[in-house]
Symmetry: C2
Subunit: 212 residues, 2 copies
DNA sequence: AGAAAAAACTAACTATCGTTAGTTTGTCAC
DNA sequence: GTGACAAACTAACGATAGTTAGTTTTTTCT
């Protein structure tokens, strides 16, 4: 059996194609109903398969869930790592990058939030050492900002958490907001507005510049 | 044994006592594992009962969940309504009030987040017209602030959503943060720190005052 | 074309879910 | 005390979950 192919890969196997389709359907269902609320029969039906056929691609429900989570979280983590790697990454650029990433996969934030609410036992192994550097870099940026000293050292992590929640929460509350205010937050103009808003937020909170 | 009774109420029936205990256990379990992930057998075991005994107090799992949600969400909604009722409520006071509320019931934010992730179909009937006035009042405050015009009209709802997510998200991510950074966000000093942080955030974002 | 491997299928098992029926225990008014 | 009612119990049902075994179809390689 030919193993995973990289950049110059050959055409994907039939099995790899259906495996990807399974991941797509499972991601949507896990994001909407959580792990316990999602049934393998629903996943199979979404793909157009019978339940046992899933076992030709994944060893079980747990493994499928882990695969969905890993595939979904990977691009975000790599963006975070790149931001924290060299000292050149600015928070505003990170926010824009992450927003573009999530806009293309609006199920991902809900998937991650479900995982976090359930304790994050499946997410934590994936985080590895991608998170620590982000906090470190946030400290650097905050201290080098014009309004230096505005935030105490113990407040920086709270600021990072706050930014995380604002970014992710926007997507998770979109369905409720649609029914509550009759406005779809996931349209392209709405997402662009939110991205602008986040940019201003970062500018105010990290650089200490008041809005003009 | 004489139990603590509310201000002017008669003594609670034995049934009311166990009903309250059922609600307590169910709230904790629903908050941790969500609706689908919580089993009535676990609820009963947590109370020290057999599963069918739950049906002496609630007509089924759905009704129990609805009761938990209603009891949990009521104080928050009344705080929101009071904030929006007369024009005197300031955002900082609201944030402090809500933080005190949630600090006393740290399961509540996770319960609400689970509900929102699942579409909020059970939450929405409870919201009624408690939410609209909050947005309206936010507009008033933002426009009457010293840095008036700093936020455009279309950004005010985003600001309200952002504040909501920062407040609620703090509690939902606490368990993961504990394992990730080895720090418990739910201790009293940590919550007081977060409350101060939120106060500064509101001050900056609503009043337009830069941190000194 | 034909053999071998991959990937679909049918059928069914075990466990556990929410729920119901019927019974026993406990509590309180008279 | 004794009857009446509330609230616990035991036993079990039907439905559905994840999973396995065994079989048939489809693809792939020579």
């Amino acid at each position: 059996m030919v193993i995973a192919e990289s950049v110059l890969a050959s055409a994907p196997t039939r099995g790899e194609v259906t495996a990807a389709r399974i991941l797509d359907v499972a991601e949507a269902l896990f994001a909407r109903h959580g792990y316990e609320g999602t049934t393998l029969r629903d996943v199979a039906a979404g793909v157009g398969l019978r339940t046992p056929s899933l076992y030709n691609h994944f060893s079980g429900k747990d493994a499928l869930y882990a695969a969905v989570l890993e595939r979904g979280v990977a691009p975000v983590l790599s963006a975070l790592s790149e931001f924290a790697r060299d000292g050149s990454g600015d928070p505003e650029g990170l926010v824009v990058t992450v927003m573009e990433l999530l806009a293309g996969r609006p199920d991902l934030p809900r998937l991650i939030q479900h995982e976090i609410l359930s304790g994050g036992e499946c997410l934590m192994p994936l985080l590895g050492d991608s998170i620590g550097p982000v906090f470190a870099r946030a400290h650097e940026v905050a201290e080098a900002s014009p309004g230096a000293g505005a935030w105490s050292a113990e407040e920086i992590p709270l600021l990072v958490l706050a930014m995380y929640h604002v970014v992710v929460g926007y997507f998770t509350i979109a369905p409720l907001y649609a029914e509550l205010q009759g406005q779809d937050l996931l349209t392209q103009p709405a997402i662009e507005r939110q991205t602008r808003f986040l940019g201003e937020l970062v500018s105010i909170l990290f650089s200490g510049t008041t809005k003009e």
